[in-house]
Symmetry: C2
Subunit: 441 residues, 2 copies
């Protein structure tokens, strides 16, 4: 299948089956903003819950946090975002369009789309101007500079400014981390690729505070742990790779940085970054706030600013990766079968329950089983149409197990469990279905 | 205990133990914006997960949704928020302060705090002006009216504009609902009472679409279900009551409205609203978008706009209610004991594991048990200080069970489970602890 076609088919499937809708679609849509439908909301919740479990609940040395989107504007002065979180833009005086000055080769001239901006005879491009990517708003009733606040462009700063509060309330000692999941906003000039680059997105970030000198070891350890996490989601190993930031790629605050990249239909792209940020962040906040942020190391009887190793993943990007990685079309008995081959742990629906036909007490038995199973698992009941079509509908949304109540059920209270990928069927006693599913989820 | 004192003690406990911190505290704080610390993040996540389970996963007739905060600006014209979501404000020309014109009696003159604004000799108040409560920002590089977008002041509109997409992708029939959890923003002039009224907050809203004529029955049914949900969280029944909106209290779009109120230390206040909105919302969006939003009723072979019954709760308000309801101080053996008597299902930490003393293999056994239990439950390990002090530290954050490995454990592999409220202890075999906890959570 041609790669651009994959994205078109996936976007269409996502709308048709309720994974992702364009925001405000009945009003013509809001560019590069997307809403998660019933199945997408479950998929993304599963991603976030798995991350929270792995990063917070299953570890002694990481504390959770849920900081607000709105923060004191001086946070963004300290972080460098007010001065430096900018893209260079040029205007065309003729057509009034704006472009990233560093990406003119990827842009099209609105007057003559076969040319790049600046290449058509009527183009009059201005000198590049720096444009800040933070969304700005105003607190209180007056729109004036004194009341400006920003929508956070990253969740990390919420962790740095709460570092002391978390340290003092949690009885942690170095090394330890703080993790949070939350929305961030960037006024991107060139968003795109469905839910890959959007102006509103959700981050899953963890900042790990270590004794200076230990950051190299922890950087390597976190690289290993985070790559393992993505692999355990079931992503194809050959589609994952490391990209090391070198030279001018490396942000001014980073001593080392690696991206975990996935090979999307639109090319290799970042889904998570692991960064050795040194003491840049706490130094800046200590300077700007005037508040001592040093850690007192009891064992060594010294004080120092911790170094930070950051792991920063996008929840929307992980959701997109799972969709792309899971999507396949195959021929089965001369017919096209579309499958989302999700790892059962991320699948929005864990099991579908069908009565084979709507008679002979099958609907009653199937409903009884469904009501029992959905106390523990997200389940779906379907009694409409031929059984083969019901299987296909579940394949297309990635449901790993389809459970059918048939003629034999009334005789021996057994049902069939049909597996999405192999399409093989097991016969299982009704009383054992919950345990059967629990074992495989 | 005097009621204002309760809030002061609770705010202090919340900071000290890591439930809630002031946003950007090291920069002097951002007024009425709060961050959830390690325990608060778990408490709020438990609230949201219980709501999502009850409203989405455990029901056939409700679909989940996760719409973006940014929406097309015409959504807020259709909803009436651009024109009508306003508070009347007056300025004082002398001191430049602003006040809600309808709440002057609750405000203090900054020049003379013993008087209300307008009552001091130098006060010069302007006529009231209407001030829109929506936060405004700009998409794209230019700050101009064409690029204005709003931070949503409620999540409900995200549901209305996605109603058709959800209906078509989910195979639902009327009556059915759409539920979502998400942030909303209101530029309140007078926020306050800790996390009760804040400028950034999280809603848990469900819109139930019904055939016209059925709304009365569903309104009553949802009133019953939602009150039952709050009671099942363990709130004291005498602290919950209904408040019916009558006369001018009733919003222009509402045919009937009841609030579930809780008796906070600052008085009876709304934690959830149940509203019969009729066909107001879909009518407006149909008019403004030009898109047919009618439902085709196959059984009756007719088309109509569904009526809507809304349940709208605040996740932060529910979290505050749980904290207030759980907070108590009591005398135990002549000492003051502070307890958060949470229902175990919402408690941030489910069980703490202690070695009685740090020798005789007790730490090893306790660590082994802790590592086993935390695969399923959020647990905390503590080996610091006298056992009595460790119990008190857990009482103060609402941990329902404390598990102690003691001298007898090495003999018969049994441990003690100490109950937070009764302080009674059970002796339980180590192999049975997980089942013992599961039964009680």
């Amino acid at each position: 299948m041609a790669q651009p076609q994959v994205m078109d088919k996936l976007v269409s499937l996502c709308k048709r089956r309720g994974f992702v809708f364009q925001s405000s679609e009945i009003y013509g849509g809001l560019g590069s903003v997307w809403d998660y439908g019933p199945l997408g909301a479950e998929l993304k919740k599963n991603v976030k819950d798995l991350w929270w479990h792995a990063m917070v609940r299953a570890r002694d040395d990481i504390e959770g946090l849920d900081a607000a989107i709105l923060m004191h504007p001086r946070v963004w002065e300290a972080s460098g975002h007010v001065a430096g979180f900018t893209d260079p833009l040029v205007d065309c005086k003729t057509c009034k369009a704006r472009f990233r000055a560093d990406q003119l080769e990827d842009a099209k001239c609105p007057q003559k789309p076969s040319r790049h901006p600046g290449e058509h005879s009527t183009c009059v491009l201005t000198e590049p101007r720096m444009f800040n990517l933070m969304f700005k708003t105003f607190r209180g009733p007056v729109e004036e500079s004194a009341s400006v606040v920003y929508l956070r462009p990253e969740t990390a700063q919420g962790i740095y400014v709460n570092y002391l509060n978390v340290l003092q309330s949690s009885r942690q000692k170095l090394p330890f981390g703080i993790a949070q999941i939350g929305k961030a906003f960037r006024n991107e000039i060139t968003p795109g690729n469905f839910i890959f680059r959007t102006r509103e997105f959700e981050q899953m970030e963890m900042q790990f505070f270590v004794k200076p000198g230990d950051e190299g070891e922890w950087f390597e350890r976190w690289r290993g742990l985070r790559m393992a996490w993505h692999r355990e989601l079931g992503l194809k190993p050959e589609k994952l790779r490391w990209h090391e930031h070198t030279g001018s790629e490396l942000a001014h605050y980073a001593r080392a940085a690696y991206d975990i990249e996935y090979e999307f239909p639109f090319g290799w792209s970042e889904i998570e970054g692991i960064h050795n940020r040194g003491d840049f962040d706490l130094t800046r906040h200590q300077e700007h706030s005037g508040k001592k942020l040093e850690y007192f190391d009891q064992a060594a009887n010294t004080r120092y600013l911790p170094y930070i190793v950051e792991t920063s993943a996008g929840a929307d990007r992980v959701a997109l990766t799972l969709l792309v990685d899971a999507f396949r079309e195959e021929q089965v008995d001369g017919e096209l079968r579309t499958v989302l081959g999700f790892n059962p742990r991320v699948a929005p629906i864990k099991a579908a329950v069908f009565p084979l036909v709507n008679k002979d007490s099958m609907p009653e038995t199937a409903t009884e089983l469904f009501n029992d199973l959905r106390k523990r698992f997200v389940c779906f009941y379907d009694d409409g149409g031929a059984i083969g079509r019901r299987y296909r509908r579940q394949d297309e949304v990635g449901t790993p197990f389809c459970i059918t109540v048939d003629g034999q059920t009334a005789e021996d209270r057994s049902i069939t469990v049909r597996h999405r990928d192999s399409m093989a069927q097991d016969r299982v006693g009704m009383e054992n279905v919950a345990a059967y599913l629990a074992e495989r989820l």
